[in-house]
């Protein structure tokens, strides 16, 4: 050890040699494969079997979808004969694709549905823009005010006085929201600020600053009301609604009503008032223990009996009511799970601060519980989205109903696999998007809890 370095006073110091690089077989792609795919004989065998299975599936799918795929044909018969035998008839799916999305909605009126989709996206999109203020108002109005406009655009026809007012309110509100969002994005200040400033009427500190806002709202509403007074859309009955559009309408209403109804029911179930508790428990247990299809049958067969004479309830409305009852009961259990997860100390602390029941629920308990419940809430939304397929059993033409309709079209008779695959893909993408977004949201909101 003569070459060991020494300090000035002659002591030898230990100095390790630089460590060797790891063996090449343990790093990079090869190392990863050795650890994750070929780690021992058993693992290697399963990998090979898995690869074979995967290869077989991929090749069969490729052959079915692309090699034998026929993209241009006038009927299923043509697909079956040319150019290869038993061609996969994508032509039929292409031909019917508009129907899958819009159902039997008249072609000339489809723009109404597209327009409403765009309006809804435009109404909701600002929620994701950090610069926009008053997001609660924007979001709530998209759920509470938008349906009136959408309902009229979907259905058309005469407006009674209530719908006339609500459609005008909805349109005014939408225009206001859009101007507000534009103002926020361009200037950083919302619409309200500009109305107050430009009117020169009062300052924000003064209580009178509400007057210019009110006057502006009333004037705008009046203008819209009179402009659209004589405007009318041709009527499209609900029996012509269908496809993905109908699926989204039913599940959208179900989802929008499930959360508030579920919160009320869950609070009722945990309430200390026995009468209210018993009622909520009965409702929740009744609707949770029976399958959705029985509720749908109940709705179609029994609602006509329940209603007073002269009131007609169409099939779509019964189905929507059934879906709402069902989803409210499920959501109530989800919310209850979240409420139970909140430590008792939080309730006691809220009480100690002198907050009343609604204050402590709204300010302390619910915000924490809702954050905890996000995965489960989205889970029930996904479930509801999937469960709306059941309305096809009671004779509504939702996406799945349209899929069975194509196989009865004389030209495309017996065409099942390709439309089913298309529908499965649509559902899969929708559900996967929801679940991935919920995971993202969970991570984002849970940031404060992580260490």
């Amino acid at each position: 050890m003569s070459d060991a370095p020494t300090t000035s006073d002659g002591l030898r110091v230990f100095k390790p040699k630089p460590s060797l690089p790891p063996p090449p077989a343990t790093t990079g792609v090869i190392g990863w494969m050795r650890f994750n795919l070929f780690d021992g004989i058993g693992s290697s065998i399963t990998t090979v079997i898995g690869l074979l299975l995967l290869g077989f599936l991929a090749i069969s799918f490729y052959e079915w979808a692309f090699v034998r795929g026929v993209w241009e044909a006038a009927s299923r018969q043509e697909c079956r004969l040319s150019p290869t035998e038993f061609g996969t008839c994508w032509a039929g799916v292409e031909f019917w694709f508009t129907r899958f999305i819009y159902g039997r909605y008249p072609d000339a009126e489809i723009w109404r549905l597209d327009l409403m989709a765009i309006v809804f996206i435009a109404w909701m999109a600002p929620l994701w823009a950090p610069k926009v203020t008053a997001k609660v108002v924007v979001g709530l109005s998209a759920i509470l005010v938008f349906p009136f406009m959408a309902g009229y655009f979907f259905l058309g026809g005469d407006r009674n006085w209530f719908m006339a007012i609500m459609v005008a309110v909805s349109m005014t509100w939408f225009a206001g929201t859009m101007i507000h969002v534009a103002a926020c994005l361009l200037t950083g200040k919302g619409l309200g600020h500009w109305i107050i400033t430009l009117s020169g009427f009062s300052s924000r500190d003064d209580r009178t600053h509400k007057y210019p806002l009110l006057i502006a709202a009333v004037v705008a509403f009046g203008i819209v009301y009179f402009v659209i007074q004589s405007w009318q859309l041709p009527i499209v009955g609900t029996n012509q609604w269908g496809g993905l559009f109908l699926t989204l309408v039913i599940s959208g209403i179900g989802i929008a009503s499930a959360l508030p109804a579920g919160i009320v029911l869950a609070l009722g179930r945990r309430s200390e008032m026995p009468v209210i508790r018993v009622m909520c428990v009965t409702f929740i247990e009744l609707f949770r223990s029976v399958p959705l299809i029985t509720i749908l049958f109940m709705a179609t067969t029994m609602f006509p009996l329940f209603l007073p004479e002269g009131v007609v309830f169409n099939k779509l409305a019964s189905a929507i009511v059934a879906v709402c009852l069902f989803s409210a009961a499920y959501m109530a259990e989800t919310v209850r799970g979240g409420l139970q997860a909140i430590p008792k100390g939080q309730y006691e602390a809220a009480e100690a601060m002198g907050l009343g029941y609604w204050q402590s629920m709204g300010l302390i308990i619910m915000p924490q519980a809702l954050k905890l419940m996000i995965p489960n809430i989205v889970g029930s939304f996904i479930g509801l989205f999937k469960d709306t397929t059941l309305v096809s059993i009671i004779g509504l033409f939702d996406l799945l109903g349209m899929i069975s309709a194509i196989s009865q079209d004389p030209q495309w008779i017996g065409l099942h696999h390709e439309p089913l695959f298309t529908a499965a893909l649509i559902y899969f993408i929708g559900c996967l998007a929801m679940s991935k977004y919920s995971q993202h949201l969970e991570r984002k909101l849970g940031a404060g809890d992580r260490r």
């Binding site: 994750n36 209210i276 399958p291 029985t294 999937k386 397929t389 196989s407 099942h416 696999h417 559900c431």
Partner: protein, 398 residues
């Protein structure tokens, strides 16, 4: 602490809303009144409507002749049986199909869940995609897919597919045919031997555990258990002269005769139910095993317990506590979702009773109530069992 008497309490009308003593009672009466009024008007409307249509409520129709045939049932049902019997047929079909589906789902789900945790990247990814794809498409779509895609396109009986190359296990467009067991005189002795075998096996295992607790000596009981459960009945079976014969399905003319069969629709419902729900079971199993903290594994290793035993004695028992409650509610879902069989014509309870019988007899309220009663009974029974189980396995913290 001083108690301040609220001004005007007890005398003022507003105290009903503001005084805590009366407020709760007031609100409850209010809510009860509203709900009661809604109920009253519903019942009143219903009675008026039924009177106008000339219908009478009541369960008398249950004894009337149903008059329609049911495509498949293990029971001896004839079209001139009563509606009550149709109800029973529906219940048996529903319970049968969901019972089989529950067993198969649980097994398949456990396999997929364990594959999902495999160290092999490819296998765990394949299991993950299996779960994602199946969980994110509607069950009804899957049922229709299996029916129209596979089981409705089966060949005619003459060109039947022989499963595993066996000529008495065949699949054709009439259904899946398999042999029917016929029990002859002395078979009851084998059955009794089987029961005795199970009791003996339980006793043996208990004894072994007691001995291990007392002396610390571990004694494998697998062979003895198998001997008691399988061996004993087998010996009795052979001694009594094999009192069991199989009635094989045989192709006669255009169709198979003999044996038992299940409809193609039932096959597709079963396959779809099992595959769809297995993806949920897989996720539960994965989440359950991952919920056991890694410290448990490390602690077991540091005590010198081998990996195989760690899994069996430390991880699985703790994971079960997280797996079983959601699993039981999933079983409940299987029972409920089996009602989707109606879409492809399998005669389950909803199909034979809530659709056919309801359309024929027109007694909507009674029939809907009876169907809901059945599902509620099943559901409450299952959740009752779940509560008992939950109480039993709850962590006993000291």
């Amino acid at each position: 602490m001083a108690i301040v008497e609220k001004p005007g309490s007890g005398s003022d009308l507003s105290s009903i809303i503001n005084d805590e003593r009366y407020r709760a009672v007031f609100y409850q009466i209010l809510v009860f009144g509203i709900v009661g009024w809604v109920f009253y008007s519903l019942v009143d409307n219903t009675l008026t409507n039924m009177a106008n249509q000339g219908k009478a409520a009541g369960f008398d129709f249950l004894l009337g002749t149903a008059g329609f045939s049911i495509a498949w049932t293990p029971l001896d049902y004839k079209p001139d049986d009563s509606y009550l019997f149709v109800y029973w047929v529906g219940i048996v079909n529903t319970l049968l199909i969901s019972g089989i589906a529950i067993v198969l789902t649980t097994i398949l789900g456990f396999v997929v869940g364990i594959l999902r945790l495999s160290k092999n990247w490819l296998i765990s990814q394949m299991a993950a995609w299996y779960v994602e794809v199946l969980r994110n498409t509607p069950l009804l779509l899957q049922i229709i897919f299996w029916y129209l895609g596979a089981f409705a396109n089966l060949p005619r009986p003459k060109q039947s597919i022989e499963l595993l190359g066996i000529d008495w296990l065949v699949l054709n467009n009439r259904g899946l045919y398999f042999p029917n067991a016929e029990f002859v005189d002395l078979f009851w002795m084998t059955a009794i031997a089987f029961v005795i075998g199970i009791a003996g096996a339980i006793w043996l295992n208990r004894k072994a555990t007691e001995r291990q607790l007392a002396t610390g000596v571990y004694e494998p009981t697998l062979v003895k258990t198998l001997g008691a459960i399988v061996g004993l009945p087998l010996v009795v079976f052979l001694v009594t002269g094999m009192p069991l014969s199989w009635e094989l399905p045989v192709l006669k003319g255009f169709n198979y005769q003999g044996g038992t069969f299940i409809l193609p629709a039932m096959c597709s419902v079963l396959v779809a139910l099992v595959i769809y729900h297995s993806s949920f079971v897989a996720e539960m199993v994965r989440a359950g095993i991952l919920s056991v903290s890694h410290g448990q594994t490390e602690a077991a290793y540091s005590l010198g317990i081998k990996p195989r035993w760690t899994m069996r004695l430390v991880i699985i028992p703790q994971a079960m506590r997280a797996i079983i409650p959601p699993m039981i509610s999933l079983w409940m879902n299987v029972v409920k979702n089996s009602s989707l069989a109606i879409a492809i014509g399998f005669p389950d309870l909803v199909s034979v009773f809530m659709q056919t019988s309801l359309n024929q007899s027109g007694h909507a309220i009674e029939i809907v109530a009876m169907v809901m009663l059945f599902y509620m009974t099943v559901s409450l029974t299952i959740s009752g069992c779940l509560n008992i189980y939950n109480k039993k396995i709850q962590l006993r913290e000291r």
